[in-house]
Symmetry: C2
Subunit: 401 residues, 2 copies
């Protein structure tokens, strides 16, 4: 029982400490601290402490950021992690996690946690048998067992998980199929209203709406306007980074964010490359998450300020340089490319750990660097410098005009 | 080049710092600090700092202790790690490691390193084509390529790797085949003499002889006596924990260690259970290594003070206790059995990391605990307590009389 009692004490301390920050009886809330063009610097308060925005959240699909310990995550500077409702609902089950005190003590992470709604995974992983206005019946990708998730059930699962930020259950659609996008968007709006009604943990757990509408500006505008009228604590832009062009993604962001209220955070779901972070922040996005840095790490690929690097390449055999000379992460401070190549080619687990630490550090530090630039009123200069270093041929496409 | 220059600086500091500890022009040497019965507390000095004995050395086969970072190893209290000559000779190659500055900077480990000779792996992994008095020709277990290792080549490889403690190339044998044991032992003695002759890094790298002879007391006595006459800086007992009974192993230890000089360290190769550490220390062994704690970890098994625990067991689903309530490791301080079971059943890499940290901590701390007991003259009492907790039915078998 050591975890539960430790956790209870921890929670009490935070409730006391942040009492002054409660808003309308909530333990969460957003403060916009500075803007520079569309770019924003802010802070989101939760019952588990606050995090500064812009922020990049590592993904801990099954209540673990793959190959990285919570202590290492803190050393990297992670202030928010994401966990997947779909995966945790299937294993070990949301009621088990509830019964052991929630995700925070379960995974040993005492900072803020965001859970998605399961909508994306049902769409991308589950075998969908039936989708109707009530919800989705699907087969597990693990064992083929049948399950049903409704907006109410998704909220219940996320309340059981104990996330600081929960997402409404949404319907994804092929981003360039107008008719499908419209149907899915309208259903997402219905589900958003039902999620709000089912949400009974207002005090500690925030619930964010999700703007859908594919690559179509009129649908995106309708979706943003409709959701804003429902008055969520925060808003996500969903259904992007699912195969559409960069041009479409950036245009949709430029369409949506001006319609969202300034005093609420904006979260771009599933996005996590250096150029997309710059592009999103320049268009007013505050929160990002993506499996990319840890997935690339497991495939021996490092994100660097000069582009991607596959460490398996023979040219690194004798290379005593770190992955990125301008990086201060644990990996770059202690290990050479020659060693990392050896680990990757011999399929040692440490390879995934050290590359994950590096890749996450790159994105987390980039968000911090851009935050400082926003506060200093130098966002465009710093962002251009970052993009130039990446040797992008068309930086103008990435930066919002 | 940052590693090489960093390393050069580091080395210089150590050479200066430990100048007073040089023995006969060497940067290494053993100090016996206390004895309690046959049990010994000592310290081995190297060019990379010293380590206290008794000591348990984690195994980093391919220049990485699987799933654990060097920083985590230090947090666990590891003071010595072992790397395998056979594996590193095949990949990435000993000359590559020499050219990047040696194993210490290569793997980011600035404390002492011990390498085996490759003898055990040639015997257990390689397809042996030919063994003769000159050496062994074998096929790689990786790609079938043909290689030849002689005593001289093994010393050369280990000198290239830059280990603080090197082992002579030895021939293993089935422990209960007297004729084979005798032949292998005599060849091991010939090779030990040739290894001594080939060894030209006396100043920084120690070379240990290996006592062979299977389970036969007369062969073991002959082997110990012969090797002691060659005057090695330290002695290993090899060819144990390879299938013989505990009774045979403990009897051989009781036979061999009294024949070894008091002022040289004794290393029991490949042994690493709680009961075998107690048994070895009670018979005068100073150094242990074993893949067991990390291998068990990757198979979801924890070493605890009350025996082994397979964390996949359903009974741990809701268990909020740590692996071992009496353990202070990072894993036991932060994670429940319920979480570790979830990680193991979903095959998350963090499972191997957290269980490896725990299992290594258990053996490293046990060695430290028994060292303190030896210094306090309470070895038998503390050792009996450890064995009682393990619920062994025959503790008298383990403890030397």
């Amino acid at each position: 029982m050591f975890k539960a009692s430790f956790y209870a004490g921890f929670l009490f301390v935070h409730i006391t400490e942040y009492n002054s920050a409660l808003m309308n009886g909530h333990e969460y809330g957003f403060t916009l601290e500075a803007t520079d063009g569309h770019a924003r610097a802010g802070r989101w308060q939760t019952a588990h402490g606050s995090f500064d925005t812009p922020v990049f959240a590592p993904v801990g699909t099954r209540a673990t950021v793959k190959a990285v310990t919570p202590r290492q995550l803190k050393e990297i500077g992670a202030s928010l992690v994401l966990a997947n409702t779909y995966h945790l609902y299937l294993r070990p089950g949301d009621t088990l996690i509830r019964d052991v005190g929630g995700l925070h003590p379960f995974m040993g992470w005492d900072r803020p946690i965001l859970t998605d709604s399961g909508g994306f995974q049902v769409w991308s992983l589950g075998k969908i048998n039936e989708i109707d206005d009530e919800g989705v019946t699907f087969q597990s990708h693990l064992d083929g067992s049948r399950h049903r998730i409704t907006p109410e059930r998704s909220v219940e699962i996320q309340q059981n998980l104990g996330a600081d930020i929960m997402m409404v259950f949404d319907e994804l659609s092929d981003p360039d199929d107008y008719e499908y996008c419209q149907i899915a968007m309208e259903r997402t709006h219905l589900w958003a209203a039902r999620s709000l009604a089912a949400w009974n943990s207002h005090q500690q757990q925030a619930l964010f709406g999700i703007v859908q509408g594919g690559i179509f500006d009129d649908l995106r505008e309708e979706s943003a306007t409709t959701l804003v009228s429902m008055d969520f604590p925060g808003y996500a832009v969903g259904g992007l980074s699912v195969g559409e062009s960069k041009e479409d993604m950036y245009r949709v962001l430029s369409t949506v964010t001006p319609l969202l209220p300034d005093d609420k955070p904006r979260y771009l779901m599933g996005v996590g490359t250096i150029e997309d972070l710059v592009a999103g922040i320049s268009r007013g996005i505050d929160i990002f998450d993506c499996v990319l840095p840890t997935r690339l790490a497991r495939h021996a690929t490092a994100l660097t300020s000069a582009g991607r690097l596959n460490i398996r390449n023979t040219s690194y055999s004798f290379d005593l340089d770190p992955l990125d000379k301008s990086c201060n992460c644990y990996t770059c401070s202690n290990f050479s490319r020659a060693y990392l190549r050896h680990l990757a080619t011999t399929k040692e687990m440490l390879s995934a750990t050290l590359l994950s630490i590096h890749n996450l550090y790159v994105l987390i530090q980039l968000a911090k660097q851009l935050r400082a630039a926003i506060i200093d009123g130098k966002f465009n200069a710093v962002a251009s410098e970052v993009l130039d270093k990446l040797n992008r041929s068309q930086p103008a496409e990435t930066l919002a005009s």
